[in-house]
Each structure stands twice: as structure tokens, then as C-alpha cells.
């Protein structure tokens, strides 16, 4: 199909099939999103970050742990684009690999948290009664801690490291998703079409999986994207406090902690990873904001 | 001549093109009561609000003439307009649930309208507010003055709105569907109240509604609008002699107890009405 007929197919007012309607909606959403310049900046930056992390070995000239003590704390030059750190390792390489770690942690957390939160929240919202109340108490307890502090306590109990950090962040993040899914579920729980489905004999599990959860998806997706920046910051915070990734792993927060003493003379060594954190976090924030404007416009 | 409008045009820019809400409306109003009738989207509210330039910022307004008591509304600076709004012309909105400030007592809202235009101490204004509540026939006005809008019924809320807008003693009152959110039993009372107050104070009135018989009952003249145009102008007593098919259609689709019909009439729209 040529471009104009594809566009016409997507934007038609009378779609012929469910799939066409779904595609049309997505396309319209995309058009709306595209108009938001800041959101586009966020999208492009996020994509660049993800790609850079994926092909890290291809775009970095050095090994992230290759030390060269003769050339430590060098300023940015052509040989080392960002300079070198306190053990002579190429900063640019370490920043790119750090991106890999950070994004990996974010993905790990999201993969753990979103499905679990969705499932628990929608079940609680749909089934109501004791299940609902019990679940609410549990989420209350987890929401009662500031995220970083609870994560710190968890990581301290387990061994400090990336796995514990991921686990700890996941444990402190899931309640928000459960709450969100529950709220969405409550709004549709009493609708007629859910009642109709119960009348035809569909059992609760099927209703929840095929009908309730898809409706919760859009707010969860928005929340995930917005949360990603928070997860990046928390992971970096844990690394900075020595509780996340451990040296010599090139996690951005850990790198800053190790080199913060050099802020006076070789200021770029701790600052550049900091800028990396800012860019990553900002990109996901912009992306999330843009997605929220498209998917959930009342919530600006 | 209180209001002179000539060829008023209001449009909005929307993602799918320019939307012309009002297309060349003209009217003149002296110390009389004019009813503007039309369905939703006919542009009647916008026309009336344009007189006070209370349109949303996205609206594009143009007119050959848009004057209030000789003052050019389109060219006037903001402080001149603020002198007209409230003091010389008031606006009553449809639903007091939304049009009254929910976190201020009604007494204070009325007192504010009084004080901003007449000055005086807070106590004087508060007393004036109670007097006004009495004028709009609210029982126990002193008690009601201390209530919040959500504690009032629809009818009482509209009376408060009326009191608030009449506080500065304006010359013109614009009532934008003042009874559409009220029960049928209360509607007539509120309109009678408005009618009474306007007549006694010698004010001009623009009454906007979608209810043709109601409007013709309380007004001297009626203007029928559709899709941004004025289709017909009549004296209130001459409604039965309406010419335009739209007006006739509106009149005919009202069910009647006196002349019952087997099938209710419906209004067939003619695209020709959209032009001119």
C-alpha cells in the first residue's frame, strides 16, 4: 500500500475490524504525541540511550576495566573523549557501560514490578472484600517508607550489589502499581458489560485477564515510564551511598561516590556521570509526560 | 440604546480546522427584554458573552459594531471593560453548583460584588448582602448568607446568583440559561423573580434559553438562532405567526395536552438554513 492509502486506512472514521480500530487509535495517539516537542526529545534520547547500551562494545574503544595508572585523571582529549578516572580507565567507555547497567536495572525492576503490581491490584479491585482490604494494608506498609530508605535497609540486610539493589527497589515500587491497577479496576468493576460477561458464565480469572487488565494498561504504562526516571535516580543514589553496584562496576552513582574527592581539581570525573544520570532521567521524564498527555489527558 | 451589535463573528481554531461559532449576528437592545432561543451550539451564549468580552482566550472575535451604551467593546482596554462588568451589566450562568465559588460563603460572594463597585466597609457590604438575599425572596437571609454553595438547593443557588449580579445595580442583565439546571416547578419562580426585579429596576434583559414558549412568555422580543445565524426575529406575542420553518418546527414538536397527536412531530433540518 502506498503511504496515503495506509494513512487513510488508519484514520478512517469507520474501521472494518477490531484490529483496524486498534491500529487507528495507536496512530492517532502517535500523531498527538509527535506534536509535543519535548516529548519527542525524550523519546529520541531514550532510544539513543537504549541503543547505545545494547551496542556498547561496538561503540567504545576501550575495555571499561582497563587501568592505566600512568594516565589517570586526564582531561578530555581525542584519545579519551571524556578523560580518564582515578585508575586511568577511559571515562567515556565507563559511562556507556554504566548506561547499560543502569538501564538493565531499570528493565529488571519494571519486569518484576509491573506484572506483579497489575495482577495483585486488579485482583484486589475486582474481588473486593477481604482480599482487597488485606492487600491495601500490605501496600500501605510498603508505601509508608520513603523508597530510598527502605531500599537501603533491604540492601544492608542482603549483600550490597546490583541484585540486592534491583530487588530492594522492586520491593519498594510495586505497591504504587498495585494501587493504580486497583483504582482503574474499581472504575469498571460495576459496569454493565462486566456484569454481562459474568452472566454468560465467564469465571473471574478470565474476566480479569482479558478485560480488566487491558484497561489498566494505559495508566500503568504511563506510570512505568515516569517511574523509570525515579528508578534511575534511586539506583544511582544507592550506588552513591555504596549500597548498590560495587566498584569496579561502572555504575554511574558508584563512579561518582568513588571520585567525589576529585571535584576540586578534576571536576569532570565525578560530574560527567552525574550529567549522564540527569540526561537519562530527564529523557524518561519527558517521554512519560508526553505519553501521559496522550493516554491520560485529564491528568495534566 | 444599551447594546448594539452588527455582524458579530466568533470563531475558534481547532485541530480539524476553523470552527465558526457565530456568523454575522446583529441585534439591538434598549431598556427591554430580549429572548435568544436556540439549541446547543447555536452560538447564543457566545453572542451574549461577547457583549462583556467574557469569551475564552482562544476565541477570535470581530464585528462591524459591538457597543455597550456607545462604548466600543472590542477596542476598549481591560480597565474600561472591568468598569462595565458587574457595575453596568451582570451575567447569570446556568448551574449555581459550578458558577458559585465553592469555598466562599454566599454572603461573602455577594458582599464582594457590592464592595468592589460601591465601596464601603465590610460590615455595610455584609448587611447589603443580607438585604439582597431578602429581595430575591430567600427566607432566613442572615442564616443563608453564612452557607456554602453546596449547601443550597438549585433554586436558592440561582437566587444567590441573581442577588450577586444585581448588587452593583447594573443597567443590563444577561441570563444564560438561568433555569435549565432547575426543576420544572422552580423554573417558573426564578423567571418570575428575574422578570419582577428587572422591571422594577428598569433594566434591560437578555434571556437565553432553548425553551421557546418559556422565553416568549417573559420577553418582549424573541430572536431565534441556529448554527451561528439569526433565523428569525419576532415580537413575543407573534410567535404563532412565525415564518421560518425552523421556528415553526420548534413550535410544532412540542407535545400538547389540548391537541393530542398520534405521532409527535420531529424537526427535519434543512442544510439551506446554514447559509445566510
Amino acid at each position: 500500500m502506498s503511504e496515503t492509502t495506509l494513512r487513510a486506512w488508519l484514520l478512517t472514521e469507520t474501521p472494518q475490524s477490531r484490529r483496524q480500530a486498534a491500529w487507528g487509535r495507536s496512530y492517532r495517539g502517535w500523531l498527538l504525541f509527535r506534536r509535543n516537542k519535548l516529548a519527542m526529545v525524550g523519546l529520541v534520547t531514550s532510544i539513543i540511550l537504549v541503543l547505545a547500551s545494547l551496542v556498547a562494545p561496538l561503540i567504545t574503544p576501550y575495555d571499561p576495566s582497563a587501568q592505566n595508572l600512568a594516565d589517570r585523571l586526564a582531561p578530555p582529549t581525542l584519545a579519551h573523549w571524556f578523560g580518564t578516572d582515578e585508575l586511568g580507565r577511559d571515562l567515556y567507555t565507563r559511562v556507556i557501560y554504566g548506561g547499560r547497567i543502569t538501564l538493565g536495572m531499570v528493565v529488571a525492576v519494571v519486569v518484576l514490578v509491573a506484572p506483579a503490581g497489575l495482577l495483585v491490584g486488579s485482583m484486589a479491585g475486582y474481588l473486593g472484600g477481604f482480599v482487597d482490604r488485606a492487600m491495601m494494608r500490605v501496600t500501605d506498609v510498603f508505601l509508608a517508607f520513603p523508597r530510598l530508605i527502605l531500599a537501603l535497609a533491604f540492601v544492608a540486610a542482603l549483600k550490597p550489589g546490583i541484585t540486592s539493589a534491583v530487588f530492594a527497589i522492586a520491593l519498594t515500587s510495586w505497591p504504587a502499581y498495585a494501587r493504580l491497577a486497583r483504582a482503574d479496576t474499581l472504575t469498571i468493576r460495576h459496569t454493565d458489560y462486566i456484569a454481562a460477561m459474568r452472566l454468560t458464565g465467564a469465571w473471574s480469572g478470565r474476566i480479569i485477564l482479558r478485560h480488566v487488565i487491558p484497561l489498566c494498561l494505559s495508566s500503568v504504562i504511563v506510570r512505568v515510564t515516569l517511574d523509570m526516571s525515579g528508578i534511575i535516580l534511586t539506583a544511582a543514589g544507592l550506588g552513591f551511598l555504596g549500597m548498590g553496584a560495587q566498584p569496579p562496576t561502572p555504575e554511574w552513582g558508584t563512579m561518582i561516590a568513588a571520585t567525589r574527592g576529585y571535584i576540586l581539581q578534576q571536576w569532570w570525573v565525578p560530574t560527567i556521570p552525574g550529567v549522564a544520570i540527569l540526561i537519562a532521567s530527564l529523557a524518561f521524564n519527558l517521554l512519560g509526560d508526553g505519553m501521559r498527555d496522550v493516554l491520560d489527558p485529564k491528568q495534566r | 440604546m444599551l447594546v448594539e451589535i452588527d455582524n458579530l463573528r466568533i470563531s475558534f481554531a481547532t485541530p480539524s480546522g476553523v470552527e465558526h461559532a457565530v456568523r454575522g449576528v446583529s441585534l439591538e437592545l434598549g431598556q427591554e427584554k430580549l429572548g435568544i432561543v436556540g439549541e446547543s451550539g447555536s452560538g447564543k451564549s457566545l453572542t451574549a458573552r461577547a457583549i462583556l468580552r467574557l469569551l475564552p482566550s482562544a476565541a477570535q472575535v470581530s464585528a462591524d459594531r459591538l457597543r455597550f451604551d456607545g462604548i466600543d467593546i472590542l477596542a476598549a482596554p481591560e480597565n474600561v471593560l472591568r468598569g462595565i462588568r458587574g457595575r453596568r451589566a451582570g451575567l447569570i450562568l446556568q448551574d449555581p453548583k459550578y458558577s458559585l465559588n465553592p469555598v466562599m460563603t454566599v454572603g461573602r460572594q455577594i458582599a464582594e460584588a457590592w464592595r468592589v463597585h460601591k465601596g464601603g466597609s465590610r460590615r455595610v457590604a455584609a448587611q447589603a448582602a443580607v438585604d439582597l438575599l431578602e429581595q430575591v425572596r430567600i427566607r432566613g437571609p442572615a442564616r443563608v448568607a453564612g452557607l456554602y454553595p453546596h449547601e443550597l438547593s438549585g433554586g436558592m443557588g440561582q437566587r444567590v446568583m441573581i442577588a450577586m449580579m444585581l448588587a452593583p445595580d447594573p443597567e443590563l442583565l444577561i441570563a444564560d440559561e438561568p433555569t435549565s439546571a432547575l426543576d420544572a416547578t422552580v423554573q417558573a419562580e426564578i423567571l418570575r423573580l428575574i422578570d419582577d426585579l428587572v422591571s422594577r429596576r428598569g433594566m434591560g434583559l437578555i434571556l437565553i434559553s432553548h425553551d421557546l414558549p418559556l422565553v416568549s412568555h417573559f420577553c418582549d422580543r424573541v430572536m431565534v438562532m441556529y448554527a451561528g445565524h439569526v433565523l428569525e426575529r419576532l415580537a413575543a406575542g407573534e410567535l404563532s405567526r412565525a415564518q421560518h420553518p425552523y421556528t415553526r418546527g420548534l413550535l410544532e414538536c412540542l407535545p400538547s395536552l389540548v391537541h393530542p397527536r398520534v405521532r409527535l412531530a420531529t424537526l427535519a433540518r434543512d442544510p439551506a438554513w446554514l447559509v445566510g
Partner: protein
């Protein structure tokens, strides 16, 4: 229950859920404490202690009893205000917390005051001028505020203002020269020195407070500005604003008296939540600026694997957080006339 006035009933419902949450909090902290791989006995007696010493210490600590019993003991001790002793400072944890908490309180309060004083007007004006350049700048700065890690900002500020420009004093709460000159009344140096009239100490303390407070404020500022703007936009689209304009009121009066008046109550909730969120930021800020508060205590205890201290501090922070959330909730119900 129906005899109580409606407002009290609603609040009591909220208050009633707090003990359950607190209980859950205590349970979670307890479980974290028991999950740790470091054997607490070894931590006290060392690797090379003979087995009978180990067994004796284990019985002393009650670690040989079933978990439920241990939790019961923990709970009872907690209700008596006993959080155990810090391995690091050798003081009771409760005493340590009492020592370090005021500094965090001072920092957080200074930060929230800054945020409110700047954030609310910024949000209101940005909403009033929606779409303008000012609005865009406010939005971007506010967004950046939520994306930058607090420790990075802190380090950069130290670099610029302390190292390069020499305006700001260094880290810590006070210059070494002034240490110990002021008696400890509230634990907050700025207030204590003012009470005692030691004005040179006062100015030094204030100068030291400025930078960490500004850094910490940046985050709650971003949040408060954003929420104020969002609330204001919502309020300004209400019909009662049209009424206010029709009354001939001035723009400023409509903006502040009417629109802002409507969002004042939800804004109190936002501020309470922002204050609670500052507890989190305080941990990192105190680490960067060596500010002797609870956050620093927590991180140092973490590095020393001092579990009593870590859990005690976590519990206290969690408790404060719950109380703040509760106050936010109550404030909303009490102040909003619509809920009456």
C-alpha cells in the same frame, strides 16, 4: 458510632488504620533485621570465639527462640522505647537518634520553607500565563528538578560556590572554630545560637545551612511548583471564574482570592507530602554536605553493617513519614468546607 459528628467519624477512620500500618512497618523492619546473612553473634564476639561463648551470647540475644517469640520480645522492647544499641557509637540507638534528628529537622524545615515561598508563586503565575515563555521555563526547570540526582547537584554547587567562587562555607553544620560554643537546647544550631544570643555563631550556622537547604529545597520546589500549577490550571477553568470576571473583579483578585483560595486545601496535602519526601532527599544531601543528621547516621551505620542503628533509624523515619501522611489526610478533611 453514629452519635459522633460526621467529621470526627471520617477522621477516626483514617487514624484507626495507622496502628495497623505501623505494626506492618515494625514487622517489616524486624524481618529485614533477621534476614541479614551476617550472624549477629559473630558480629559481637568475633570469628574466633569458642563455641560455648557463641552459644551463650546466642541465648543472651534470644536468637535461639522461635521467630514469633523473638518478634514478641522485639515488640515489647520497642514499646519501652528500646531500639537496641549501636555497635558503632556504643550508645543506645534511641539516644543516637535523639542526637541526630534535630539537625535533619532543621534542614528539612528550612528546605520546605524555601520551597513554599518560591514554589507557590511560581506555580500560580505559570498557570496564569499558561503557554507563555515564563510558563515553559518554569515547566522545564521543574522537570529538571525531578530528574537531577540530589547528590550531583550538591557536588556541583559545592564546586561552584565553595571551590571556585569561595562564597559558601564548607561542609558540616558549623565551622570547626565555633564547635562546642553553644549549649544544646533544641539541637538545631541556628535556633540555639539565636536563643543564646551568640550572633557570630548564628551567622555561621545559617551560612552552613544555606547550601544544603537550597539543594534539598530544589526537589520539593519542583514538586510543589508542578502541583500548584496543575491545581491552578484546573481551578482557572471553573465556571465560577467566569462569574468572578463577570463581577468585574481585577485579575489579581480572581487569581489569588478565588482560584488560589480553591486550591489552598489540596496544596496543604501536597506540602505535607513534599515534606515527607524531603526525608528521602535528606539522606543523600547530608552525605554530600557532611551534615550531622539522621540521614548521615543511617548511611554511616549502613557502611558499618550496624543493623540495630540501621533498623532503628529506618523505623523512626518510617514512623515520621506515616505521621506526616496522616496529618496531610486529616488537614484535607478538616479544612475543606465541601467535605463537611
Amino acid at each position: 458510632m453514629t452519635l459522633l459528628p460526621a467529621r470526627l467519624r471520617r477522621i477516626s477512620g483514617t487514624i484507626a488504620s495507622v496502628p495497623i500500618t505501623l505494626f506492618g512497618l515494625i514487622l517489616v523492619t524486624f524481618l529485614i533485621g533477621r534476614v541479614m546473612p551476617i550472624d549477629p553473634v559473630i558480629a559481637i564476639v568475633g570469628d574466633h570465639a569458642p563455641p560455648d561463648v557463641i552459644a551463650r551470647v546466642r541465648t543472651e540475644l534470644g536468637l535461639d527462640r522461635p521467630l514469633i517469640v523473638q518478634f514478641g520480645i522485639y515488640l515489647v522492647r520497642l514499646l519501652h522505647g528500646n531500639l537496641g544499641s549501636s555497635v558503632m557509637t556504643t550508645h543506645p540507638v534511641t539516644q543516637d537518634i535523639a542526637t541526630y534528628f534535630p539537625a535533619t529537622f532543621e534542614l528539612a524545615t528550612a528546605a520546605i520553607i524555601l520551597s513554599i515561598v518560591l514554589g507557590i508563586p511560581l506555580g500560580v503565575i505559570a498557570a496564569a500565563r499558561q503557554g507563555s515563555r515564563f510558563d515553559h521555563v518554569v515547566r522545564v526547570v521543574s522537570l529538571a528538578g525531578q530528574s537531577i540526582p540530589v547528590f550531583v547537584l550538591g557536588l556541583i554547587f559545592l564546586l561552584i560556590f565553595y571551590v571556585k567562587l569561595g562564597i559558601a562555607p564548607g561542609t558540616g553544620q558549623i565551622d570547626v572554630g565555633y564547635d562546642g560554643l553553644v549549649d544544646r537546647i533544641t539541637g538545631m544550631l541556628v535556633i540555639d545560637s539565636a536563643i543564646e544570643g551568640q550572633w557570630d555563631v548564628f551567622w555561621d550556622a545559617l551560612a552552613h545551612l544555606a547550601m544544603p537547604a537550597i539543594i534539598l529545597a530544589y526537589f520539593s520546589l519542583a514538586y510543589i511548583t508542578r502541583m500548584t500549577r496543575a491545581f491552578m490550571l484546573d481551578a482557572l477553568s471553573g465556571e465560577y471564574i467566569v462569574t468572578a470576571r463577570a463581577k468585574g473583579l481585577s485579575g489579581a483578585r480572581i487569581l489569588w482570592r478565588h482560584a488560589f483560595g480553591n486550591i489552598a486545601v489540596p496544596l496543604v496535602t501536597v506540602i505535607a507530602l513534599a515534606y515527607a519526601g524531603l526525608l528521602e532527599g535528606a539522606v543523600l544531601t547530608e552525605t554530600v554536605f557532611s551534615w550531622p543528621g539522621l540521614g548521615l547516621y543511617l548511611t554511616v551505620s549502613l557502611l558499618n553493617a550496624d543493623m540495630n542503628a540501621v533498623l532503628g533509624a529506618t523505623l523512626v523515619v518510617g514512623f515520621v513519614y506515616v505521621v506526616l501522611n496522616l496529618m496531610a489526610d486529616i488537614a484535607y478533611r478538616v479544612l475543606d468546607p465541601r467535605v463537611r
